[in-house]
């Protein structure tokens, strides 16, 4: 296929061509989905360089495993699962290298979020898109990787509760607990950021 053909072809056609060894078709797939794959890596890693490296690694793995792609999900979803798994491996490695924060241990025991006051006003109301993104970015950065990951998998990857334990290697009860904590903590962090801004 020519470059012009590739740009007008749908993902399925490009995947089939790439499975036959057509690198130009794969390049088009990379161009189409690279932002999404990078964004997923960035949401999980909170580090631009690591996110670039892991998204690149995901594309290389994607090419190597292309024969295994059966089309059960969309190509984009298949690729995001690859990058998520790479990020989780990397985060687990990093976790082994550092001591967990006290906050994360408290959250694991499932106590803090119960006492948090409910945020009644939307702390992001009236914010511009760029400003809002910055605040969410900072707030996500303050969550432990377990809480951030469960949030990413549920909110961005739209995984059901029962799908998450397999990816995160934990129980469904832990998933529900982590998700609840992550949401409540995020709401509290966003409210704090708003307070800081208004001072």
């Amino acid at each position: 296929m020519t470059a012009k053909d590739n740009s007008s072809a749908d993902d399925q056609t490009l995947v089939r061509a790439a499975q036959q060894g057509d690198m130009a078709a794969f390049e088009e797939l990379v161009a189409r989905h690279r932002d999404k794959i990078y964004a997923r890596a960035y949401s999980m890693m909170r580090n631009e360089e690591e996110a670039i490296d892991l998204s690149q690694e995901a594309w290389v793995k994607g090419w190597q495993r292309l024969a295994q792609f059966q089309g059960d999900s969309s190509f984009g979803t298949w690729m995001t699962r690859i990058v998520i798994n790479l990020c989780l491996d990397q985060l687990r490695k990093q976790k082994r290298q550092r001591t967990e924060s006290i906050e994360a241990m408290d959250a694991e025991s499932g106590g803090v979020e119960r006492q948090m006051p409910v945020i009644t006003v939307n702390p992001t109301a009236g914010l511009e898109r760029g400003e809002l993104r910055q605040r969410i970015d900072r707030a996500l950065g303050q969550l432990s990787y377990e809480h951030r990951t469960v949030l990413v998998l549920h909110e961005f990857e739209e995984m059901e509760y029962k799908q998450i334990p397999k990816t995160m290697e934990c129980s469904i009860g832990t998933v529900m607990s982590r998700l609840f904590y992550a949401r409540r903590k995020l709401a509290a962090l966003l409210a704090d950021l708003k307070k800081l801004d208004s001072v």
Binding site: K36, R40, Q56, N122, G130
Partner: protein, 169 residues
């Protein structure tokens, strides 16, 4: 609200409850202000997160990023480096070294185990060659009391007529 009820409320928001339990939670929210406030907070957080990833872009150009991916793919797919075929001379040399070593060993063994032959000392006779004069051979027979000196001057290949031989007793 206890913790389990809070988790159930979250599951209600996420559409993870069976119908009957979902109806229960829906009626709880209408009755309980705390539950309604918590549900609202969780909903707001979801809304805030909804468009977050949409604005994130890979901070590298299409061509640059692809070149890195392509290079890595090609590096991983490249076959293991093959050695260039050896030249005839190199192959001959490779063969020659062990062959020479083997020949040397064989010659040594043959020399060591060879029985004393025609030039060796017999029970009653021996042959001497003067190193300074390779053209002269001396044959001594002790039993017979005979000494033969064989001179081959100027050279062996110049014919027998130039050979001189003397006998001393």
């Amino acid at each position: 609200m206890d913790y389990n009820a809070q988790l159930k409320l979250q599951a209600f928001l996420d559409g993870e409850l069976p119908k009957a339990e979902a109806s229960e939670m829906a009626s709880l929210v209408t009755r309980d202000r705390e539950a309604a406030a918590l549900l609202e907070e969780l909903r707001n957080t979801d809304k805030v997160l909804a468009g977050f990833e949409g604005g994130i872009e890979l901070p590298e150009s299409r061509d640059f990023f692809w070149s890195k991916v392509q290079r890595e793919i090609q590096r991983l797919e490249a076959p293991a480096p093959k050695f260039a075929p050896a030249s005839l001379l190199a192959r001959w040399r490779r063969l020659l070294v062990p062959a020479s070593a083997l020949a040397l060993v064989l010659v040594t063994v043959v020399v060591l185990i060879q029985p004393v032959g025609q030039f060796g000392r017999t029970s009653a006779a021996d042959i001497e060659t003067a190193l300074a004069d390779a053209g002269a051979f001396t044959y001594r027979d002790y039993e017979a009391g005979t000494t033969l000196v064989w001179l081959s001057y100027p050279a062996d290949n110049e014919g027998a007529e130039s050979d001189e031989m003397g006998t001393f007793e």
